[in-house]
């Protein structure tokens, strides 16, 4: 198989850099940049998780004094939830699947030597990194981190007098988000150009692995969405610091008339959610693509309905821009537009359902191997269903009346956008770790990690739906004030205990990750017997990905168990090909 798969063609330039700084810090290599993004997200996810743990502790033991941190005050709780949300959404769910794995594997999977614009790629990462530092910096300034939630609704987010943390902390928050937008826009530009212009010979669009489709569509969403958030951030920054009134009407805060008039708080919500809803898909679509890839590879079956999957992702991307109003049913927006948004929202449920059917269709009649990536892929499908079916509740404005801004929403978006995407990230880590580091991750540890996370995530987020139905509002730092919440405290306690156990389980992963880098079993070039291009090259891939050759593609991405083939998988580069059926 070895070199016959490649069209013999010598590489000219693009020599690997030698020094440490050029090789690992200011690297132009998409693989190194991918790892940089990945490890950025890894630190971010542990920070975010730690914040959530503090929140859970505060909820059920409001006055306990923690070592080093002391007692958590109600406003600190709100800072924690703001930073938890912001860090998780931007620096984990947007960063790891796209910036991390997308950067590393998109060029390899389409048979390219690098991204289209390596310098821009490096800049994207460093701008994102800077944004991360600025965001963390908000914790350490006077007043602390902002308390306006990750959605940052003005006037709360626009007026320094509206609460502690709304001073410099909130400025840093907005600046960090604006920086992140710039990084994300540059990255999207790179992804789109690379996908359109750098596919190797034979890699037609309809032969791209679904992961590549997912990264491509995510990049388009990012390109169209982050500019809007950037604009909104600039407007908010001006309102905060220059005294303009884009979002702030005449208000009296803390007994003082603020120096604004005439602004529209709803304008921010429209701009924010025009970004915010596509952002949900930016987080989940890469996981969808990856999960399709894994379900096919580990069932040893071609993906069921490849084209349907592509069209489903495309229509999710398109419809994702037409549903932002469903976050605003109770905001004072016109009830007529609420109705229109709700219909569109229901329609977007259709392609999501199609994807689920196709995953089940792929499993059906397969020969499933339960390697750790597959466990997480199955977990993803399960979470995607569970998080998805609460969507049609919230999409109906009528049901949004009792459910909006309750824990039902918290449960819904954590399952589908948080946990499902995180399952995608875990699956990707277990799947591609051998290619990235040349060693296998420990399989038993991976299994333990899966059981902890799978059962734990359900134990945390399922009960939140019950809380929401009982009318428990989100973002309450204490449960003592509303009488009807008292009855719900046991359920809150259960969630906190479940969070302890689940978070403990994550250290299995952390240990496994670093231990396996050093001591894992040596990996072969294609340990999963998968078909896509990254498995044709050396492990880890050479600097130019294919060692001076350009692959030529003859087959679709998921040719498993082809009748008559010598093995149960046919590489994309295998010139002996599968005839039409």
């Amino acid at each position: 198989m070895a070199t016959r798969e490649f069209a013999a063609h010598e590489s000219h330039a693009h020599a690997a850099p030698q020094g440490f700084i050029r090789k690992w810090v200011f690297s132009l290599d998409h693989k190194v940049i991918g790892l940089q993004y990945y490890f950025l997200a890894l630190t971010a996810v542990f920070v975010g998780m730690f914040l959530s743990l503090l929140m859970r502790i505060h909820l059920i033991w409001p006055s306990v004094a923690l070592p080093l941190i002391g007692e958590i005050k109600p406003e600190t709780y709100l800072s924690l939830l703001t930073m938890h949300g912001t860090i998780m959404v931007f620096f984990v769910l947007t960063t790891a699947p796209q910036g991390g794995f997308g950067n590393y594997f998109l060029p390899i999977q389409i048979g390219a030597a690098d991204m289209a614009f390596p310098v821009l790629n490096m800049l994207s990462f460093w701008v994102t990194f800077l944004a991360y530092l600025v965001m963390l910096g908000a914790f350490f300034v006077t007043g602390g981190a902002p308390l306006h939630g990750w959605t940052g609704y003005p006037p709360l987010s626009a007026l320094p007098s509206a609460g502690p943390g709304e001073g410099l902390g909130a400025d840093l928050w907005v600046i960090s988000i604006a920086l992140f937008c710039i990084g994300a826009l540059m990255s999207a530009l790179n992804f789109i150009t690379t996908t359109l212009d750098m596919r190797c010979k034979g890699m037609s669009l309809m032969r791209m692995p679904l992961t590549c489709w997912a990264w491509f569509i995510t990049a388009i969403l990012g390109l169209l969405a982050f500019g809007v958030l950037f604009s909104a951030g600039i407007l908010l920054l001006l309102d905060r610091n220059v005294g303009t009134s884009f979002f702030v009407p005449l208000v009296t805060v803390n007994g003082q008339l603020a120096a604004h008039k005439g602004g529209s708080p709803l304008l921010w919500q429209h701009l924010f959610w025009f970004f915010g809803h596509p952002e949900v898909y930016i987080a989940i679509v890469p996981a969808m693509g990856l999960c399709s890839q894994l379900v096919s590879a580990f069932s040893r079956k071609p993906i069921f309905g490849y084209k349907a999957m592509v069209y489903a992702m495309l229509s999710i991307g398109l419809l994702g821009f037409m549903v932002w109003g469903h976050h605003m049913f109770m905001s004072g927006m016109s009830p007529y537009s609420a109705f229109a948004f709700s219909v569109m929202t229901m329609v977007i449920g259709v392609p999501s359902a199609i994807k689920t059917f196709n995953w089940l269709g792929t499993l059906w009649g397969g020969r499933i191997r339960f390697s750790s990536p597959m466990l997480f892929a199955i977990g993803f499908v399960s979470m995607f269903v569970s998080g998805g079916i609460s969507g049609p509740f919230l999409a109906q404005p009528v049901l949004d009346i009792p459910l909006h801004d309750t824990y039902f929403v918290t449960g819904h978006f954590h399952l589908i956008m948080g946990v499902a995407s995180i399952f995608g990230i875990f699956a990707a880590t277990y799947y591609w770790f051998p290619k990235m580091f040349g060693r296998m991750m420990n399989e038993s540890l991976a299994r333990w990690h899966f059981w902890f996370t799978f059962i734990g995530a359900y134990a945390i987020f399922m009960p939140m739906h019950y809380l929401g139905m009982a009318g428990h509002p989100r973002r309450y730092s204490q449960l003592t004030e509303l009488n009807y919440l008292h009855a719900l405290v046991p359920l809150q306690k259960f969630i906190t205990y479940a969070a302890f156990v689940t978070i403990a389980g994550q250290f299995i992963f952390l240990f496994n990750l670093f231990w396996s880098m050093k001591f894992g079993k040596k990996a072969s070039d294609n340990p999963w017997e998968a078909t896509t291009l990254e498995w044709t090259t050396a492990t880890p891939p050479p600097h130019d990905n294919f060692g001076g050759h350009t692959p030529v593609v003859y087959n679709g991405p998921y040719e498993y168990s082809v009748p008559g083939a010598p093995r149960d998988y046919v590489m994309q580069t295998d010139p002996t090909t599968v005839a039409a059926h």
Partner: protein, 247 residues
Amino acid sequence: MASFTTTVSISDPSTVLGRNDIPPPTRDGGGDDHFDYGSPDFPVRLRRARLGLAVGVTGIVMIFVSFTSAYLVRQGLPTLDPRTDTLVHDWLPVQLPRLLLINTVVLLISSVTMELARRQVAREATLAQVTSIPGVSLGREDKIPWLALTVVLGLSFLTGQWMAWRELAASGFYVATSPSSSFIYLLTGMHGLHLLGGVFALLAAGAASLLRRPVESRSIVLDVTGWYWHFMAFLWIYILCLLEFAR
């Protein structure tokens, strides 16, 4: 059902039919068939840079689309004045400084010089391939410094915008005076920042020329900056129309 054939050899991949009858390695269905490993050739790099620019411009367009929608919403939406309990508009129409017209003309001229600079270096890049053949000489080309001229005009435009700001402020319209003036400062400022990016790209290209870098790289930078510059001119006209006709 499917069958598996092992008879086709790699030397003739074009005869192989993939499933769904996509002929595998063809020019238009697949990626490009230039084996552009390492240092791709000039047309490929140019095409890629232009594609990147088009995508990047889309991102910038989204930024200004959202500013526009914010502009129209903020302008059209009355808010409740708690003093009178009535819905009021607080939008004061602003008379745009005349200077903006002069600035517009300057920017449009710079767009022309930019185009000439772009063509100049594109010709150089084409000729460089010819003149690199020993013994071929084409004599001296006219060397009007279109690039430098564009930079000067671009900076004049920015200075002009600054002066227009001063004029606005002198007539009592500061950033926070009225949403209308906020938007004028915002839109002109954001446009100016983007144009400044173009100026820096031109300066980089100029520096590359002084450092005698390969003409191809310079040509690509100038080409995409040229298109970017035209986009900036177009964007400015759009902003001006918005500010003038949707007052």
